[in-house]
């Protein structure tokens, strides 16, 4: 059995806590961007997922994602109820930390991924349907994808796809699923006619600050160790984020005439998303370029949304879908074995093959995540309805779904 390293364990536990904090951070990020009458409804999505997905993860989600492989497609139920997931290290996933530390770290990823999708259907989704959707989506979309990319014998992992901390599993996955959700649930009442300005941008920016902070756990924690690689991932993460915030602000200033705080905050998130898959494989200058690219591409993607006419209320597609896709491709360009021997070299370091693998991963993820989410939502719509009633949407989710008001001045 492997020896438990206290430094690795301490950093992994800290990282797990940091990643968990990202979900309430996301709740504030999203909450500030919706109208006041929906602030609690929006925050509630994230909070409820923290509870619901944890339970699903413990009972069977972890097993399906990381358990004994079946055909490269899914894990078995061998770790049902965390049976067999003890405090000794796991030779592959976690050689120097207790197995449960890895499990609980991964739980936080399983939590935040469905929470990201909620931005697409904000301000109009029925709470009951949302609960069932989250449970089914986690099981049918998140767990298999996590298995393909990170599970032992998962087919994308076997193929050589590189995704250090979840660019595919978390961001492309949630981004494309969000597209299916936005298309099916339809636009908010009054979209394009009534103003729907963010009701509390200071709250949103606070959320981004928390996300930036927590993301160090997300990326640097994915080294599953405290040492050279976690430092490299930490630095890459920070540099890319700064680069993306800068480039989003810069291009926004150029195109629209003034830089906005929402733009700076959104740019930062775009950078965090883009660097996620690459964080353990690239050096600081590559990270900077990846960040710059992420900021600009995601800004343009968000502008494009208005041309396509779908109501992805909080830009999950533009930032997570497109940002994650850029990140996966960028990994195929900038990955370097000099940074991480266990990785690979990308196109700019003499190896064209990795890029092809990354592209396949991206395309399959798009198709699978979109397809299953679409079918799932269609069925749920037929059985229960996706959307609240018109009067409920008018009154706001806080009152209609939760009998609460966010603010009682």
């Amino acid at each position: 059995m492997g020896r438990i390293d206290p430094g690795d364990t301490a950093w992994l536990l800290t990282s797990a806590a940091l990643v968990l904090l990202m979900t309430p951070g996301l709740a504030l990020f999203y909450g500030g961007m919706v109208r006041a009458k929906n602030v609690l409804g929006t925050i509630m999505h994230s909070f409820f997922i923290m509870a619901l997905v944890t339970i699903q993860w413990i009972i069977f989600g972890y097993s399906l994602s990381f358990g004994t492989d079946i055909g490269g497609i899914i894990g078995s139920f061998s770790w049902f109820g965390l049976s067999g997931v003890g405090l000794d290290p796991h030779p592959d996933y976690a050689p120097t930390v207790p197995h449960q530390a890895f499990m609980i770290f991964q739980a936080m990823f399983a939590i935040i991924t469905p929470a990201l999708i909620t931005g697409a259907f904000a301000e109009r989704m029925k709470f009951k349907t949302f609960v069932l959707f989250t449970l089914l989506w986690s099981t049918l979309v998140y767990d298999p994808l996590a298995h393909w990319v990170w599970g032992v014998k998962g087919w994308m992992r076997e193929m050589g796809a590189l995704d250090f901390a979840g660019g595919t599993v978390v961001h492309i996955n949630s981004g494309i699923s969000a597209l299916a959700a936005a298309l099916l649930i339809g636009k908010r009442k009054g979209y394009g006619l009534e103003p729907m300005a963010p009701h509390n941008l200071p709250m949103t920016i606070t959320g981004v600050g928390i996300l930036w902070f927590g993301w160090f756990g997300f990326n640097a924690g994915s080294a599953i160790a405290a040492g050279k690689l976690s430092v490299s991932a930490f630095v890459a993460t920070h540099v890319a984020t700064a680069g993306a915030a800068f480039s989003w602000l810069f291009i926004e200033w150029l195109i629209k005439g003034k830089p906005t705080t929402l733009g700076g905050a959104s740019g930062a998130v775009a950078g965090l998303v883009a660097i996620t898959p690459a964080s353990g494989y690239v050096g600081p200058i590559s990270a900077l370029i990846i960040g710059w690219g992420g900021g600009i591409l995601c800004y343009l993607a968000v502008l494009m949304k208005n041309k396509f006419g779908y109501d992805d209320s909080l830009d999950v597609v533009g930032i997570h879908g497109i940002g994650g896709t850029w990140g996966a491709i960028a990994t195929g360009l900038f990955a370097s074995k000099a940074i991480n021997e266990a990785g690979n070299n990308g196109l700019f370091f003499g190896n064209a093959q990795l890029l092809g693998i990354q592209i396949i991963t991206v395309l399959v993820t798009w198709i699978y995540a979109f397809g299953i989410t679409f079918i799932l939502l269609k069925i749920l719509d037929r059985l229960m309805g996706l959307r609240v009633k018109e009067e409920e949407e008018e009154d706001g989710l806080d009152l209609s779904q939760h009998n609460e008001k966010g603010y009682n001045f």
Binding site: P195, E252, L262, D315
Partner: protein, 112 residues
């Protein structure tokens, strides 16, 4: 008795309040309102989506005064609230049928 309703620019509230107490106006009601006349609103941009906000924040001051002081009060408000730029606001004078002081039951001008 007349009610004088004045819609003014928010930053002028203190000046108008002080000017009114200098002419012995005892009390007032102040509300935050939004509206527009000839003043243009402003533009807000959130992730590329542009909103033109036509309603401009203003302050509404309501005072009820005896008939004979109405011209003096109107002039006081107008002078204090004026900047000379579009959006300075308006003053309306309305008749008041009765007034009651809740604590004592006094009516009419004695209630003011």
């Amino acid at each position: 008795m007349k009610k004088i309703e004045a819609i003014i620019k928010p930053f002028k509230l203190d000046e108008v309040k002080n000017a009114l107490s200098a002419v012995a106006v005892q009390g007032m009601t102040v509300t935050e309102v939004r509206g527009f006349g000839r003043q243009k609103g402003h533009k807000e941009v959130y992730r590329g989506a542009e909103y033109v906000v036509e309603l401009v924040p203003k302050i509404k001051i309501e005072v009820v005064v005896p008939d004979q002081v109405v011209p003096r009060v109107v002039e006081t408000i107008a002078k204090a609230a004026k900047t000379g730029k579009i959006g300075d606001g308006k003053i309306f004078v309305l008749p008041v049928e009765d007034a009651i002081r809740i604590r004592t039951g006094e009516r009419g001008e004695n209630a003011l």
